[in-house]
Structures are given as C-alpha cells and as structure tokens.
C-alpha cells in the first residue's frame, strides 16, 4: 500500500477537513478505494490465515488429546502459557528470528488463537453424550467412524463457539500487528495517531469493529446451518 495522505491534502481541503472536524465523511468516502478498502482486505486476509491455521492445528491437538488423555494437561499448559505473553512482547521476541514479516505476525496470531480453540474444542469433544458414543461402539462403528460421524459432528456447536471468540480476538490483535508489518487497518490507525486529523483513525477503527461483528455474525449463521438438529430442539 502506498502511504496514504496522513495529513490531508492541503492543496484543496474540503470545508469539513479545513475546519478540522472529528470525522469527515467526504474524506472517508474519497479515500475508501485507495486507503480503507485495501487495508480492510489485508486485515481480513491476516485474520483468515491465522484462524484457519489455528483451527486445523487446534482440531488436530484436541483430537489427539481426546484419544490420549494424558497429553491434555501438558498441551493445555503450553498453549495457555503462550496465551499469557502480551502480543507486543511476543512480536518483540519473534522479530529477531523471523523479521518484520507477515510470517512473524501469523506465528503470533496462530499461537494466540490456538489456546482458545484448543480449549473449547477439547471440551466440546469431551461433552459429547456418552450414550451416543457407547451406542456407536456397540453398533460396530470403528474408532475413526465414531470420531468423524459422531464426536466431531456433535462438537460443532463448540467448534463454532471457539471460532467466534478466536476470530474476534484475532481481528483485534491484527490491529496491533501494524507494529511489525505495514498492513491492515492497524497500519492506518498507527499512522493517524501521529496526526491531529482524526478521520483516518476513527474510520479505520470503526471498520475493525464492523469487521469483527460481521465475522461473528457469519459464524453464527454457519453454526445454524451446520446444526439443523439444534434448531428444532424446542419445536
């Protein structure tokens, strides 16, 4: 992204910009395509990569710990320890190794999302009704069939719940990742912090909130579509 005008165009400021108002809608719309939209897409991309990778790793870890119960305590300890490291400190630790790169950002984001996802997924697997699993065993389903046909399917509400929290959290942390890479809505916010002009800062911040709400809504919807049996409970 070419550095947008942090200080608005002095040549021909609109009335709003000239009066230094808190938020100038005309400036926001004028700069939507060159400033806000690319940042929004980058933000979404960084988030998606982190959540998808975190999801895959967390499902694998949760299934492994579900099968081998003794693994749960150590895996849980490691992931929760990583979760307690503040994002800025983690970036600081990673930069010497992986540089000011997207890789650094994604490593940090995945490590954060994995804790939340792993914890909710493992709980979801453990809360699958014992009757259903026992019936599945008694009917002659293999361990793998029980996992894919019964346990993971019944854990979908937990998977969705974990994804919702992890996605909203990741969208927030991606904003901080602007300290490492010049990408996403955080980058716009970071640059605007040094300027007396607030529209870029407010616009980018609002977009991050909207993105989080939209992602959350999309996951709720996906959850409904994937769990038709849960909708009919009170029917």
């Amino acid at each position: 992204m070419s550095a947008g005008p942090v200080i608005p165009d002095f040549g021909d400021p609109s009335a709003c910009v000239a009066s230094d108002a808190t938020f100038c809608a005309d400036w926001f719309t004028d700069h939507w395509w060159n400033l806000f939209w690319p940042a929004l897409l980058q933000h979404l991309e960084l988030t998606l990569i982190a959540v998808v990778l975190g999801f895959v790793l967390a499902v694998a870890a949760a299934v492994l710990c579900h099968f081998k119960g003794w693994l749960a305590a150590p895996v849980s300890a490691v992931t929760s320890f990583l979760y307690t490291v503040p994002p800025l400190a983690l970036f600081q630790l990673l930069v010497p190794v992986t540089g000011f790169s997207v890789l650094t950002v994604e490593i940090a984001l995945v490590l954060y999302s994995i804790y939340l996802l792993f914890t909710t997924f493992l709980t979801g697997l453990r809360e699958v009704p014992g009757d259903a699993v026992r019936a599945a065993r008694g009917m002659g389903l293999t361990r793998r069939q029980i996992l894919f046909k019964v346990e993971l399917r019944l854990a979908v509400p937990s998977l969705i719940a974990g994804l919702r929290v992890a996605t909203v959290m990741t969208i927030g942390i991606v904003a901080i990742a602007a300290y490492v890479v010049d990408k996403g809505l955080g980058s716009l916010i970071l640059k605007a912090l040094q300027s007396p002009f607030n529209t870029q800062f407010i616009g980018a911040g609002a977009l991050a909130v909207v993105l989080a709400l939209a992602a959350d809504g999309a996951l709720v919807l996906a959850g409904r579509l994937l769990t038709p049996w849960a909708r009919t409970r009170r029917a």
Partner: protein, 347 residues
C-alpha cells in the same frame, strides 16, 4: 455384504464358565457364569446394581472382553470374530436409546446398513420397513430429529435401529429404564408383540422384577459378586426360588406376581348365569392378578369374564366399567371365582 434379504434366523447364545475381572479389581465382576439362551427366546439378566448383569451383556458384543471361559453365538466363539464385525451382527439397544441427536430418525436407523456398504435404494427400503414395523411411518417421522420425539417414540426408534441389519441376536441394556411407567408398559407390550413376529434371541438387562417376569422367557438372577443365583422360567423362579437371596429379590408378593403370568382365558370358567350381572366385568385377556385386584376393590368373590375386544389392546377392560354392564356389549364367557384364581395361581 453377507447380510441376506431373508430374515436372519435366531441363534442360541451360550455362556461357558465366563469370567470377567477388571484390571486392578479385587474380585471378578462376573464369576463363572454358565447359561444357555435358546434361539428366539428373551433372557432377562436381573439383579441389584453391581451384580455384573450389564458386564455380562457387554461381553457378548465385546464391549467388555472376557477374561475367562467363552461365549458362543450359534456355536461360534465370539473371540473368532473381529469385534467390529461381531458388533455389526448384533443389535444393541441402551437406556436413553443412545440415538444420535445430530442425525434424523431415518439416518439413525441407516447407520449400520451404511457402514456395511448397502446401496442407497436398499437402505431406504429397510428404513421404511423398520419404521413401519415399530409404528412410526417414515413419511411422518423419517426426517425428524430425536429431540422432536417423545421418550416412547425414541425407544421404538432405538429398537428399529438395532434391527437395521437384521441381526440374529439383540442385546438390550435397561432399554426402558428411563421411561415413565405408563409409557414403559406400552413399549414393553409393543416389544413383546414385535418379538412374536421377529423371534430374535434377546438378552435383556433389567433391575425390575416386574419387567423381568413380563418380558422374560427365562430370567437369570445375579447376586453381588457377579454370581448367577438362579436361571429359570419366571413361573419356576416365583414358585421355587433357589435360596433366600432370590426369594428376597423377587419379593414377598411373589405369589401375586405369579398371578400375572396367567390370563383369565386360560382358566376353566364357571358358565355364566343370570345372577352374575352384578359381578364386576373384566376382559379375558386380563391377568389373574388383575382379576384378584378387581375382586378386592369391588368386595366380591368372583368376576365376570368378558370376551376381549378385537385383540388389539387386551387388559383390564372391566377396570373402568362402572356397575355390572359389560363394556361395549361384549359377550360374557363365564365367571371366575376367587377360589379358582387362587388354585390356578398356585399351580
């Protein structure tokens, strides 16, 4: 696969000095169990909790592995089978049914046929056939989820699912334990009627003596420590309990329980006379116990036995009949006296 279109014939199940000792357990959960369940019979495993009856059941489909002795189904040891293959050839029904909440009724029933690799057409036909068999038309119930059914309906689906691959043997672990008494009675009757038609060999775990007497062709009573206390028909068990434990377990009212085993229709009735009109009426399908109960309730020493309705329900048609009028203008077959009931019960 190997499953034929024709119904699989029932097979006998032989427990041959079976022992189950769980790791780190001081004493065995099942101790030297030997009994034979004849093909097509319902055998109820009855006993207090911790007496090993459920363990005994779970060893048949190798959910618990035997640690001594052998179990043979149709002459073949269960240890000769791969456990997965073995389980797919045995119907399994548990308390609360264990239906999969995320699958429709049709998909629940189709589970085993699908893993057996049946083609779609055959699976669909089988599901419709089974739902019809348990009285839940596929058009109405097939696409519902278990949470949309009543407890009794769920239990019927559980039974249909267990029958899906037409297994010669069914294992039922307190299948009706979670149902309210009225629903349980109805589902029990339905299952008995169903069993008349399908004639599978059934092992049925229960802790309820009344259920055992009603459902079982034979009852195996277990005592603590996984020991078989007695294995007999309900009639013999109630008449001649082997020891103090069995006598206590079947209850002080075992005489009354025996009366439930005989229907009024089986008695030699006294021919009806005009003076009988005042006697309380009861259907011929009712048990001697129901007749006795009616006599006690009405303060009479005989009941008027009416021809039972069109064979559908059976039971105590006279219970609700105020006064002496027979229900629905049914024909009186004769009368049964207190003395006749008592003598028949003692036989």
């Amino acid at each position: 696969m190997s499953t034929e279109k024709t119904p699989a014939s029932a097979q006998d199940i032989v427990f041959d000095h079976v022992v189950k000792t769980y790791p780190n357990a001081a004493s065995p959960a099942v101790d030297d169990l030997s009994l034979t369940v004849s093909a097509g019979e319902i055998c109820v495993l009855l006993g207090p909790s911790g007496s090993g009856k459920t363990t005994a059941l779970m060893m048949v489909n190798r959910l618990a592995e035997i640690t001594g002795g052998d179990i043979r189904i149709g002459g073949r040891s269960i240890t000769d089978h791969d456990p997965i293959e073995l389980r797919r050839s045995i119907g399994y029904v548990i308390q609360q049914t264990g239906l999969f909440p995320h699958l429709t009724i049709a998909d629940n029933i189709a589970t085993v046929p699908k893993v057996l690799g049946w083609d779609k057409r055959r699976v669909k036909d089988r599901v419709a056939e089974l739902l019809d068999l348990v009285g839940l038309p596929v058009a109405e119930f097939g696409r519902r989820y278990p949470s949309q059914l009543s407890g009794g309906q769920r239990q019927r689906v559980g039974i249909a699912r267990a029958l899906a691959a037409d297994p010669p043997v069914m294992l039922m672990d307190e299948p009706f334990g979670a149902l309210d008494p009225i629903t349980r009675e109805r589902v029990q009757d339905e299952f008995l009627a169903l069993h008349e038609r399908i004639r599978k060999t059934v092992i049925f775990v229960s802790h309820d003596i009344d259920e055992a007497v009603k459902m079982g062709d034979r009852i195996a009573i277990f005592r603590e420590g996984g020991k078989l206390a007695q294995y007999d028909t309900p009639r013999t068990l109630l008449k001649e309990p082997a020891d103090e434990f069995v006598a206590r377990f079947v209850g002080a009212d075992r005489g009354l329980k025996r009366l439930t085993l005989t229907r009024l229709a089986e008695l030699d009735l006294t021919p009806a006379t005009s003076g009988d009109a005042a006697l309380p009426a009861i259907g011929a399908d009712a048990s001697l116990r129901a007749a006795l109960s009616l006599m006690v309730a009405e303060g009479t020493d005989a009941v008027r036995v009416m021809e039972s309705g069109d064979g559908g329900g059976g039971g105590e048609v006279g219970a609700g009949g105020e006064g002496g009028e027979g229900p629905g203008g049914a024909k009186a077959l004769g009368t049964a006296s207190l003395d006749a009931v008592r003598k028949a019960g003692a036989a």
